[in-house]
Amino acid sequence: MSELVLELRNVHKAIKGKKIIKGINLELFSGEVLGFLGPNGSGKTTTLRMIVGLIRMTKGEVFIAGHSIEKDFVKAMKNVGCIIENPEMYDYLSGWENLKILASMEKGITKERMKEVVSLVGMEKRIDDKVYTYSLGMKQRLGIAQAIMKRPKLLILDEPANGLDPAGISEFRKLIQKLAHEESMAVLVSSHILAEIEMMCDRVAIIKQGEVVQVTTVKNIVKDQGIIWKIKEVQQGKKILEEEFQTAVQLKEDQTLLAFIGEDQVSMVNKRFMEADVGLLYVNKNQKSLEDLFLALTAGDEIV
């Protein structure tokens, strides 16, 4: 059974009289990865800071594993691992010394566990070097290591993919999904990379000017994502799809065909296109679905 790990109730924040967060409600369950999406300055980092108690709420409440972050900070924070904004570490210490200091502030993190997370993030070779010699991606990996080493119930990551190389991003994605689905952590991750969020998250919350404008499952978005065909004989292809597969077809501006059909049917369509010799160049998933949604929801939003 999944349990409620994080709950935001009507959270507000004003800084110097300016309303930055205007009443956010959010729930996050164990074993779930929630993507936190929003344009620059929409209040993602501010919200995450309030969740971990770095800044105070003007109004509202945050509960982590049932404990109020303001009234029961220590009990609440026992369940949290996080990276907020940048993966800052003591750069005059080695990676290992950093982990040791942070582990000593928690209960029950063994040396074995520390070694385990170091190898999980692929930092064994450089862990004894001083952090100032690390690249951004290496700092990010160390940041992830310190966040997960206590096996928190709630993992909060603010733009964690920032600075990671493609291999790193893919490893990171697998790691996050493994943590969520096998160790049933609840993960809240903010990011700008929509494709990342789409591949990694189970749900997304889209925030705009301090308000959550939509919370939806990624399945929902991906379900009606559609398939795109690039063919020479556009009209003939459109006819085949409409008549033989009984589906609505859009002819897009770039002369591609977009149809919403199940993935199981795609190979049959392709076979038919080959037989009909319509000049099939490529077939693709419509990658833009989340981006379309994001842009539609945050349209006209300017940085204020």
């Binding site: 105070r56 924070m77 907020i84 800052e88 003591y90 005059y92 000593s104 502030m105 310190q146």
Partner: protein, 336 residues
């Protein structure tokens, strides 16, 4: 979470930041120069006095001391010397008379004498500067680099984090005092040769209403006297450290933090010159830093101070600074 492991972390961080090594470097260079200078002046004054007296034997300290005493008495007859200057000359003259009467040689210079001299000269400016250097980045550096977020997102209440920093700083202040003692001892032993820790020292002179009060004077060994001066040094280090900690909590940048502490240290001292007759001046921490002068009988910049009053004022400043630091640290938003 256990406090001592937090304190251990903080001490470890301060040591790894290498600030302490900078302080050791400064101490070695400065004490070296100070020792050389002291050595040089001593030899020159001794031969000057001897020359003026027309004696060859510069080692006859009774004669030299007598001459110095006569010199001071002559200056007391000078009507142009202001009242404050007059009082300090009187103190000095009284001390010399005492040395003569008790058969104590004030002209020899030993490693032990250098050690206490060094603290007497450092306590109001150099020592505070070292402590400012050490303490100013203890919180502000974490704010600048963002590592404060690491600390504050652990399951440890904020007051405990600041307490660990405060205790670590208190330990490091002690270490700075010990370093001063050890380095001063090492260098002065090389320069002056003999130790002189058992030599008697007179302490307890007091100035009451411009008059020298010798009713409380005591003779202690030089070793005890050094212990007393360095303990007083620790009180200064302790209170300056707490003030620097507070500023470090209040401002984000280490440079600003050092700047604010240095300017209030030096500015306050200047201020006390100009408004020394104003009642409130005596509650400035700056005018209360020369604690060792109460031992040696030198005149204080503001009249009517006493050792216990000055220590009280310094500890009050430390207490107030600590309260402000805790108040702000526990409630502030960590926005960057």
């Amino acid at each position: 979470m256990k406090l001592y492991s937090l304190v251990g972390n903080e001490v470890f961080k301060i040591i790894m930041k290498k600030r302490l090594w900078v302080i050791v470097g400064i101490l070695i260079i400065l004490i070296g120069l100070f020792a050389y200078g002291e050595h040089y002046t001593r030899e020159r004054t001794q031969s000057q006095i001897a020359e003026r007296l027309g004696i060859d034997d510069v080692d006859d300290w009774r004669e030299i001391t007598n001459q110095q005493l006569l010199d001071l008495e002559r200056r007391l007859d000078n009507p142009f010397i202001p009242e404050e200057g007059r009082a300090s000359i009187q103190v000095r003259a009284e001390q010399l008379r005492y040395y003569l009467a008790e058969d104590i040689n004030p002209t020899t210079f030993s490693a032990a004498q250098f050690m206490s001299n060094f603290m007497e000269q450092s306590i109001f400016l150099f020592l505070p500067l070292l402590i400012i250097l050490l303490a100013s980045d203890i919180v502000s550096k974490e704010s600048t680099t963002g590592t404060i977020k690491l600390l504050m997102t652990r399951p440890v209440p904020r007051w405990k984090i600041l307490t660990s920093k405060l205790l670590a700083l208190t330990i490091l202040e002690m270490i700075v005092i010990l370093l001063m003692a050890v380095i001063a001892l090492g260098i002065s032993y090389i320069t002056f040769g003999h130790g002189g820790f058992r030599e008697p020292v007179i302490t307890g002179f007091r100035v009451v209403n411009g008059e020298l009060d010798a009713s409380n004077i005591q003779t202690v060994s030089r070793g005890t006297y050094i212990f007393m001066t360095y303990s007083l040094g620790y009180i200064v280090a302790f209170s300056i450290g707490k003030m620097a900690l507070m500023v470090s909590v209040l401002v984000k940048s280490t440079a600003a933090s050092i700047g604010i502490m240095m300017s209030s240290l030096i500015g306050g001292t200047f201020l006390s010159f100009f408004i020394s007759d104003w009642e409130i001046t005596r509650y400035l921490f700056n005018v209360n830093l020369r604690l060792t002068d109460f031992l040696s009988g030198d005149l204080q910049p503001v009249e009517g101070l006493s050792l216990s009053f000055s220590i009280g004022v310094l500890l009050l400043w430390a207490l107030a600074a600590t309260l402000v630091a805790f108040g702000v640290f526990s409630y502030k938003d960590i926005l960057d």
